[in-house]
Every structure is written in C-alpha cells, then in structure tokens.
C-alpha cells in the first residue's frame, strides 16, 4: 500500500502571526514556521499503519517555499520512507484551486492507494484541500474522520457532522482527512533523524508536473484588500468584593445577553 500524506508548513499558532499589509501574504519571517500539528497527526496515522503492515510505503508531500526542507525532513525522521517537495516561484500566493491542482498532479505522478490530510490548516482554515484533491483525482473522499480503520481494500471511520455521527467507508484509492481526535505524533528519535538524511527527497517544480500557474481558463481567488484590525480594547474590570456575580448578572441583563 502506498500512502501519501499532505504536510503543510504554517506560522506557529503559539506566537503572533502577521500578514504583510503590502502583499497580503503570510509574513514568514514574523513567526516561527512549523509543521501544522494536524498534518503530524495525519502522518502518525499512516506510520502506525505502516508499523503494523509490512510493505507500506509512506510518502510525505508538501507544497512549500525553498526553506521548507527542514520541516519535510522531520516527516522523514518520524518514519516516512520518502518525501516530495513542490517548490516553484510561480506558486507564491497560490490560491486553493492552483494548490489543489498542483498537489493532485504530484500525487498522480507518485501513485497512491490512500491520501491522508488534516481536516483544516491553522493558517488558512479553508478545510477544503482534501475535497478538491479528491475531486481532481477522481476518487472517493472521506473527510473529517475522528477514528480511522485502514485495510487492504478500503478505509472506514467515524465522521461527526452537525446533526450527528456517521460511520462511513470507501474503497481505495481514496482521499481522507482526519481531525484532532486522532493520536498525536511520535517524536523522531536519533536513529530516525540519522536515517532521514539518506532517504529520498524529491524536489519538483510546476513544469515537472505540467501545471500552468496562470491558466486563463481557470478562475482564481484573489485578495482585494487587507487591513490590520485595531486591537480590542479592554472594557470594565472589577475585583470581586462579594457581589461580582450580581454585577455580572446586571451587565448581562442590561446588554440583553441573559
């Protein structure tokens, strides 16, 4: 079985994150860049399956700027067998459509039985990439899984939707996305880190993948304006003198919030 795991670099949510007010793009120098945690969980799922099933090939796939090699190597150090890094100047500021097209082309080129992704990134919070990739690859999509069972021919799991809980399944090949209910990632050990240096890491550009960034027939999403919101000002702050509960009740009632 060949499992491709989609891995995205994001600004660390534990620090302040900035958008460039000139370009509207993420200011990559303003924050620490890390693998999005949900992607690490996606990789953990693939690696756990590989641990239990010999002959499983886990490939880390990332579309990211030049400097992303360290992040991708972390995926290899965790235990992935190989990695693909799509890197092209023309992808700077790529919208979801171009990103999906590019990822799908790389996945098709690599070959796959299963594609595993996180349900939504912490930066764009679009949560649409798995669906777009599934559509372009022409395979079933099983999104938002909070538990996953992979076997030779299929994948199944639990999917929490607005009105209840579904048990869902699909035959392979398929694309799945997982939620944070899945186990957190393993830490790369020393052996893994050493081994990662020898594992294949392929770098591809758009020409390799036959993707045109500015295809005139494809609509793209563009940013028209970006503005920093003034920080929220603090309001009333009181120290409890035995009647704060009463005062808070009054505040809620006066503001029609209770």
């Amino acid at each position: 079985m060949k499992i491709v795991v989609l891995v995205k670099e994001v600004p660390d949510t534990y620090g302040d994150r900035k958008l460039s007010l000139e370009t509207g793009l993420a200011d990559r120098d303003a924050s620490e860049i890390v693998i999005d945690e949900i992607c690490e969980r996606a990789l953990e799922l693939a690696l756990a399956y590989a641990d239990a099933n010999q002959g499983t090939d886990v490939v880390v796939l990332s579309l990211a700027p030049d400097g992303a090699t360290a992040t991708i190597r972390k995926g290899l150090a965790m235990g992935a067998g190989s990695a693909i890094h799509i890197c092209d100047e023309a992808l700077r500021g790529a919208d979801l459509g171009l990103t999906a097209e590019t990822l799908a082309a790389a996945i098709r080129r690599a070959g796959f039985d299963l594609v595993v992704a996180g349900n939504a990134s912490t930066d764009g919070s679009g949560g649409m990439m798995p669906a777009m990739v599934a559509e372009l690859l022409d395979v079933p999509l099983v999104s938002g899984l909070s538990s996953v069972e992979i076997n030779e021919g299929g994948v199944s799991g639990t999917r929490v939707v607005e009105s209840g809980v579904q048990q869902v399944s699909a035959s392979l090949p398929a694309v799945i996305s997982i939620t944070e209910a899945l186990p957190g990632p393993r830490f790369p050990n020393f052996k893994g880190i050493m081994a990662a240096k020898k594992k294949p890491l392929e770098t591809l550009n758009l020409a390799d993948l036959g993707v045109t960034a500015d295809d005139p027939d494809t609509a793209r999403s563009i940013m028209l304006a970006v503005a920093e919101k003034p920080p929220r000002a603090a309001g009333v702050k009181i120290v409890d003198e035995g009647d704060a509960g009463e005062k808070l009740a009054n505040f809620l009632i006066e503001n029609r919030l209770a």
Partner: protein, 327 residues
C-alpha cells in the same frame, strides 16, 4: 420555467435527517439578501424536499430548487452534481455555502470540478462595482481581508454564526431540479446516529452564546460549573486547550486556533488565562466576559467585562442572580 434573477445569489443548504434545514441556513440567506437575490438549492433526503423548500422560502429564498438525493447513503457526490446543475441554470453572481464539514466538501469539490474560485471562511459578503466580494477575519481576527474571484461567480463559504442579518420571508416558489449524475466515485454512509444527547444544549460552532472553562476549574467534576452556567444562559460549552488536555472535557469543545473558532454574541471565559492560541478562536465574539483570579491574565486585555475573582464564588452567585430574574 421563468428566468432566474439577474443578480441571483445561489444559497446551498442541506436538510438534516430530521427534515429541518441546517442551522446556518438563516445566516446564509441573510448574507445573500445583502448582496443580491437569494435563490436556494435545497439538498434533502427523498421525500423531505418540499418541507425544506418551505423553510428556505421563510428564510428569504425567492426561488427554491429542490434536489432530493436518490441514495442518501452516498456521501457528498450527489450534492456536487446538484450544485453543478443548479449553477448552470441559475447563472448566479455568487454561490454561498456554510463553512461546515459538508459545506466545505461540497464547495471544494464543486470548485475543483468547474475551475471556479473559492473564498473560504467568510464572515460576510458584499458587492462592489465588479461583483460579489467576501469579507474574512483571519489569523484569529487580527486582520480583515476582502477577496473575490478573478472571473466567474465566487464560491463562498460562510463561517457559522458569523452573519447576524436575516432576510425577509418570501412566498414559496419551488421546483424540482433535474440533476445529471456524474457517477463519480464516492464514500458511503454505513450508519448514522442522530445525536440526541447534545440536543438540549446548542452546538459550539455557530452558537450565539458560549460559556467556556479553563484550567482554573481545576477538575473534571468542578468543570460542571461551566455547564451549569451554560444551561442557565442557553449557551454552548467551550473549553481552553489546557482544560481539554487535562481531560476535563472532550476535545470537540476546544475553542482556539487548533479547535473551534467561535464568533458568538456572548463569550464567557471562566478560569481561562487567554493564551494567544485561545484568543485566536474567540476574539471575534461580540461581547467577552472573563472571570479569573489572576488579575494579570491576558484575557482581561480583550474582555468587555472582567471580574478578578474566584470562579467558584462568582459563578454560583451569577447563576442564582440570573435565575432569580427569570422568576
């Protein structure tokens, strides 16, 4: 069949298994009415379309297209097929969907199939000289961004609970949409449990009021205080990552950058310090209330009403004061 309005906004809404429209529907029609004429595509189980169409009209749909899925066990694909057919007929200026799991899947698959541009997780839509634009609040509410498509109708997903506007009810004008099935491979829904346990309490995502607890609650047992206040206010229950990691409450309740983002009318943070991670998920709430015994907690920097005090003293008093007013 009569022509569709020139400035149609196609609103895609799904009927739940129970037959009612999804919770976000009212906000979607409200948003659409502010940017054009709302036309609905209602996705429903066999036999449920007519009732769902009536609800869509009552929420502001001027015209309703009904697509009853031939096989409710097929996940996602029938909805994409229906949307493709509806968009072709209506030729809308924009397509609006909820930024729910199903809404995102539908929007993503449709956009990929038709090479249409998507604008995700919008908190509102408006119109400029060129067409419909989406307004976003990104990086936890730190930036306002406006986006649109280079050409063609943008597919816009709207954050649940973000739009307050409501559209005027319309007389029902509905028709069945004829859909050409794509036959694309799809996953199957093998079984479904309607969650009745949470039915008495609103869902976190999209809730108008949220009461959230943090590590200050100190134990799983004492976290019940958060639930008590939530029930008094008819609010949803949220939690900080620290409370989730400590096992006070399941992860589904986590509010924050890596959990659920909420834009509620009221957000009450109990025993939550207000780390950036948490604030990112709630600082677009309209009114923020915080109770924390640490006067230096960062949550007070953004609270409209902050109480420096012991949650175990302040909150019970608050609950009894609110209950006394109700009588």
């Amino acid at each position: 069949m009569t022509e569709f309005p020139q400035n149609a906004i196609l609103v895609v809404v799904e009927a739940r298994a129970s037959g009612e429209l999804e919770q976000a529907a009212a906000g979607l029609f409200g948003a659409a009415a502010g940017a054009g004429t709302p036309v609905a595509l209602v996705l429903a189980a066999p036999g449920a379309g007519k009732a769902a169409a009536a609800e869509a009209a009552s929420l502001g749909a001027v015209r309703v297209l009904i697509a009853e899925t031939p096989d409710p066990a097929v996940l996602g694909v029938p909805g994409v097929d229906a949307l493709a057919s509806a968009a072709e007929q209506v030729q809308p200026d924009a397509i609006l969907l909820s930024h729910s799991l199903d809404g995102r899947d539908l929007a993503g698959r449709y956009a990929a199939r038709t090479r249409t541009a998507v604008c995700v997780d919008a908190v509102g839509v408006s119109r400029d000289e060129e067409g419909v634009v989406a307004n976003h609040s990104v990086y936890g509410g730190a930036y306002n961004v406006t986006s649109t498509a280079t050409f063609g109708p943008p597919v816009i997903t709207i954050r649940q609970g973000a739009v307050e506007a409501r559209a005027e009810a319309q007389p029902e004008t509905s028709e069945t949409l004829s859909v050409t099935p794509s036959g694309k491979p799809a996953a199957r829904i093998d079984s479904f449990d309607e969650e009745t346990a949470v039915a008495t309490r609103p869902e976190l995502r999209g809730a108008a009021k949220v009461v959230a607890g943090g590590r200050g609650l100190a134990s799983k047992e004492q976290f019940a205080l958060v639930e008590q206040l939530a029930d008094t206010l008819g609010a949803a229950v949220g939690a900080s990552r620290a409370a989730v990691d400590a096992g006070y409450i399941p992860h589904a309740h986590q509010v924050g950058q890596t959990g659920v983002s909420v834009s509620s009318q009221l957000y009450i943070a109990l025993g939550i310090s207000g780390a950036i991670q948490h604030r990112a998920g709630m600082q677009t709430a309209k009114t923020i209330v915080a109770v924390n015994k640490d006067a230096d907690a960062p949550i007070f920097e953004i609270a409209d009403f902050g109480v420096v005090g012991d949650v175990f003293k302040v909150v019970p008093q608050l609950i009894s004061a609110l209950e006394a007013r109700k009588k």
